[in-house]
Every structure is written in C-alpha cells, then in structure tokens.
C-alpha cells in the first residue's frame, strides 16, 4: 500500500511537469495584452512605464524556454511569482484562498453524496414505480438547470418572499464557525444540485446492473433482509463505478464552483481565476490553474486507492 502510494506520488511529477508546460503554453499564447494591461494599469496609478519596461517586469523579455524554467525553478522553491496588480505574492493569495474553495467543494460534495446515494438506492430498489420515475425526472431537471440561474433566483426570491437574504459577507471559519456555516450552506446546496442530479441516476443504473446478478437473487432466495441485500450485496458491488463517478464530479465541481464563488461573493480561488483572467494577471492565473490541477490529481489518486477498499480483488499495481 505505502509502496503503491509512493509510486503514484512519484508518477505525479512527470504529469505535473506536463500540466505546467500546458498551462504555460496556454498562458503565453497571447502575451501582448498583458503588457498593454500593465502599461495601462500603471498609467491609472499615475506612473509612466514604457512597454519594454513592462515586458521586463513580466519577465517576457527573455526567451520562452528560459521563462518556463525560471517559473518552474521558482515553483520548486515555493515561489510562484508576484501578482501583477495586487502587490502580493501569488503563493500568499493562493494559500489564503485555497481553504475557502476547499471548504465549498467539500461541503457540496458531502451534500450531494448524502443525497444521491440513498435516493439512487431507493430508485434501484423500486424500479419503474411512480416514485422512481418522479425522482429520476427531477434529477434530470436538476442536472439541466443552469447553476447561475438557480443561484440568481436563490439570491433574490427568498429575500422577497420570506425576508431571508443569503449572507454574502464572508466570515472565515476560524473567526466564527456558525456564521461561516450559514454563509456556506446556500452556495454549497446550489453547487450540489447539478452533481446530485447526475449522481442519483448513476447510482441507480450501477446498482440495477448488479441486481441482475445471480448472487443477488441467491441473497433474496436465502431470505436476506432488503436492507442487507441492497447494501451488502448490490451497492457494495456497484461501488467501483460510483466512486469513479464521484471522483470525477469533484473535478467538475471545481469548475462549477468558479460560477458559485463569483455569484455568492466567496473569496475562493475560482473567483480569483476569473478576476485574474479578465485583468490579464498571468502569474496569478497560472498559479491557480496549477493548484487546481494538483488538487484534481490528488483526488484521482484517492479514488484509485479507494478501489482497493471497495473491492478486495483489486490489486494496486
């Protein structure tokens, strides 16, 4: 186990290198706008800076290959560069905002999992009944409703109808747990909606597939209780695809949370990326993207390790 994890972690290094290369190439494809933006921003602050100086400031006067290795070298030393406009280091921005994004992702993941597994199992246990059809239709609708639309409505209508407005002032979890939870509850519910819609149907399909197997029939025949058949025989064996799907949905959630953070005024990395990209703050956007990629890689690793727990026949190689 330990050996496997070490091996996988070591294998992350070349992948991470490739990710960095891709992000770098993506970011450097149109560098001109960043230079103009820097010149413009300095002008706004009453400072005059020539284009060549701006270029040098961005490190764009060196050849691209050198820029790349300077960036990588800095990253290995925990230095992701400086933000162009915020007067702060990228690393500092990320380390202060990553926990916020993680909290949102974890909360919405917990909510969507807690809702989709019981509902999916219920549908699989009573296939093609009215309840099953209703839940399935609802889940397709949930998956089809644009997150940003639901979010807008949640922000407006409860305030009008019940006088409840979603708290939009961010409170760090260290400052006040209850206030923090109040702040995060609605955004994570909205974020969980889409994922939930997809996952309910997936859990149902996977479980139904297992329930056609002979050993499930045997379990019924020998008189096992419904709960035992559903959990120990059917769902346990449907876990592998379900875990894969849930792991994948975490990656999707990070993308979706860009919108949620933007809407509910949560100071997370997602919002930071959008701002950084519209300001052409390349070092910050680069850093955030790499951090997201590392996060996704770790989730994939956790998913692979979970396989072993789901199915003892799986050998980790």
């Amino acid at each position: 186990m330990g050996k496997y994890v070490t091996k996988r972690l070591l294998l992350l290094i070349p992948t991470l290198f490739l990710v960095c290369l891709m992000v770098f190439v993506l970011m450097r494809m149109v560098p001109g706008s960043a230079v103009e933006m820097v010149v413009y921003n300095f002008k706004q602050n009453g400072q005059v800076i020539t284009e060549a100086e701006a270029r040098a400031r961005l490190g764009l006067d060196k050849p691209a290959v050198e820029q790349f290795f300077v960036w990588i070298w800095g990253m290995l030393h925990g230095d992701l560069g400086d933000c162009l406009f915020r007067g702060d280091t990228v690393w500092h921005v990320i380390s202060s905002e990553l926990p916020v994004s993680l909290e949102l992702a974890i909360m919405s993941f917990i909510i969507s999992t807690a809702a989709s597994i019981p509902l999916g199992l219920f549908c699989a246990a009573h296939p093609d009944t009215a309840a099953d059809v209703a839940i399935r239709t609802l889940s397709v609708i949930f998956a089809s409703v644009p997150v940003f639309w639901i979010g807008t409505m949640v922000l407006v209508y409860p305030a009008v109808w019940w006088g409840y407005s979603v708290p939009l002032t961010f409170v760090p979890i260290t400052k006040g747990f209850v206030a923090n939870m109040k702040m995060f509850l609605v955004p994570s519910l909205v974020a969980a909606l889409t994922t939930c819609g997809n996952n309910i149907r997936f859990v149902r399909t996977c479980t139904l597939e297992v329930m056609r197997q002979d050993y499930v029939r045997t379990a019924w025949a020998k008189g096992a209780k419904e709960r035992r058949v559903m959990f120990s025989h059917a769902f346990r064996n449907a876990l592998i695809p379900v875990v894969t799907m849930f792991g994948g949905s975490v990656a999707g959630m990070i993308g979706g949370n860009v919108v949620i953070e933007n809407m509910f005024n949560i100071p997370g990395i997602g919002q930071q990326v959008v701002t950084a990209l519209s300001n052409r703050d390349y070092p910050l956007a680069q850093g955030c993207t790499v951090v997201f990629a590392i996060f996704v890689m770790l989730v994939n690793l956790i998913v692979d390790i979970t396989y072993k727990w789901c199915d003892p026949r799986v050998t980790l190689e």
Partner: protein
C-alpha cells in the same frame, strides 16, 4: 432480435415516447433558430436588436408575448435570436467534439505502441486541468466571438471524450475479425475506418445528445461569466448576466425566459441521450449497421432453393 421498423427513429418512437418528444423539442429549437428572422416580431438590424427605450421593461402582453427588456427590445425576438446562437454553437461543437474524440481515441487505440503511450500521458495531464478553467483561459486568449467559442468548447470536450472512444476501440481492435483483417494485410488506416469506427458508432451516436446538452450549458455559463459571445449578440446566458440578475425582482420575466429556455434545451438533450442509450446500448445488442441478418437470410434462401432444384433434378434423373 425482433424486426426493426422505421430504423432508429421508429424504435425510439415505440419504446421511448418521452425521448422521442424530447427530440421534437430539440427540433423545435432548431426550427426557431433557423427561421428566427421570419418568426421574430422585432427584426435584427445591422446584426443587433435595436433598443427602443420608450418600451423598456414592459410585462408580457399581446404585443410583446414575453415582455421587453431594460433596453426595450422585444424579449421573444431576443430569445429566438438567442436560440440561433445556442443552436449554432451547440450543433457545431457537438460535431467537432465528436470528430476530435473519434480521431484521437480511435487512432490511439489502433496505432497503439509508443504513440498511444505518449498521447495518453498528455491527455492524462490535460484532464487534470478542470474543463471550465481551460475554457476560461482559452476564451480570454482568443477574445469573445462565436467561432472562438466553438473552438474553445470543442477542444477540451473532444480530448476528454477520446478516452471513452479509445477504450471501446481497444476492445474492438482485439476482437477476432480485426486481427484477421490485420493478418490479411489490412493497414492501420483500413482497420480504423472499416472496422473500429463503424463498431464504436453506437457509442458515438449515444454521446451526441449528451454532448449537445453539455455544450449549451457550458456556452451559457461562459457567456454568464462574461467570457462568451460579443456584446450585442443575442445570447441566453448573456441576457441573464446583463439584465436578468439585476432586474430579477422588478422584471422577473427577463430572468425567467432564458433560464427556462436553457433548462428545457439541456433537459431535452439529456432525455434524448438517455433514450438513445437504451435503444443503442452496445452491451445489450450487437453493433449497429455492421451486420445485416436480412442479407444473410436472403443468401441462405437462395442457396437452399438451388439445393432443392439440384435435388429435384437428381430425383428426376433417377
């Protein structure tokens, strides 16, 4: 297997009524998009809907069935032209995404070896960057515009989808007939287009509808974040962000119409995808259109008839 009447559509109609109606809904959207110029009460002028501030923020009425927005534009016309944007981007992206994923996935599976290994590692790395972020980065590079959006939405989608095509193609590639074809001198090109692609076709068809829904959602999300279509191009997501949000209370129809339209279209695409999966599931039935039982029956009947004839002749001789 029972006889198929009316091909795929007939089967869909008989077994999956809901999916069939969802397909009709999608067709209605496409119809609205194609004939937007004829259907819209207010026509586009110079590539944009002119604002008529005197008629701003009117509730739905006979003259304006969906009301007007803050700039006095007729909302029904806006929605119809918005459908055009969504349909153009949705359909083109779906085709492009599928093409990219088939070419990448199938060629990776058929060529195999080093090419497969390196390509898969690159795709591994690419997959680690969340798709939404890639789209945002690319959009901010290319600038807003419909052609840019099409590219930006199809490239990540195509690369992601190639995984599934690859694993399906590998199982086809390892099958007996494909090895036979190789033994008889079929090159990788031949095997790719003659054997692998036709046999993963059901999988591709199934994903077309899902891809359509996903693209429309992604498109409106990008427009909502302000990275999408250029200003003045009618677009559902852009309408929500520009006016629907701020006018959600004072003029709820502005926010409701695009939201419902997006939901309906994505819902229809998802249900159609579900129905197609049930009809086409390659695990339940054989590949589609690659093997015709009718033809074999015909040949067998001919053969039997000729045998009988010969038998009759032999009997007559004796």
């Amino acid at each position: 297997m029972e006889k198929k009447k009316g091909g795929l559509l007939g089967t869909l109609w008989r077994t999956k009524k809901v999916s069939f109606f969802c397909m009709l809904v999608l067709l209605a959207f496409i119809f609205a998009a194609v004939f937007a110029d004829a259907l819209a009460p207010q026509k586009m002028q110079n590539g944009m809907l002119q604002s008529r501030l005197l008629e701003a923020m009117q509730a739905p009425s006979l003259k304006h069935p969906l009301g007007t927005d803050a700039m006095g534009r007729d909302l029904l016309s806006y929605m119809l032209y918005g459908a055009r944007t969504s349909v153009i981007i949705g359909l083109t992206c779906t085709v492009l995404t599928t093409a990219i994923s088939v070419v990448l996935g199938a060629s990776s599976a058929v060529i195999g070896g080093r090419f497969d290994l390196y390509l898969q590692r690159v795709i591994d790395a690419w997959q680690c960057i969340p798709g939404m972020l890639v789209s945002l980065i690319l959009m901010s590079m290319f600038g807003s515009g419909i052609p840019q959006m099409i590219l930006v939405l199809s490239i990540p989608g195509g690369i992601g989808g190639s995984r599934m095509i690859r694993s399906a193609a590998i199982s086809v590639k390892d099958s007996g007939y494909c090895n036979m074809s190789r033994m008889m001198g079929g090159g990788s090109h031949w095997r790719l287009w003659k054997h692998v692609v036709p046999n993963v076709m059901p999988l591709i068809l199934m994903n077309l509808a899902n891809c359509l829904g996903g693209t429309i959602m992604a498109e409106s999300t990008l427009s909502f974040l302000g990275f999408g279509v250029p200003v003045n191009t009618p677009d559902w997501g852009a309408l929500l962000t520009a006016q629907g949000r701020s006018k959600m209370y004072s003029a709820p129809w502005i926010g409701l119409a695009p939201g419902i339209a997006i939901t309906l279209m994505v819902f229809a695409a998802a249900m159609l995808g579900d129905g197609l999966r049930d009809v086409l599931d390659p695990r339940l039935k054989g590949g589609m259109g690659t093997f015709s039982l009718k033809k074999i029956h015909k040949i067998a009947a001919k053969y039997v008839a000729s045998l009988k004839k010969e038998g009759a002749k032999a009997n007559a001789k004796a």
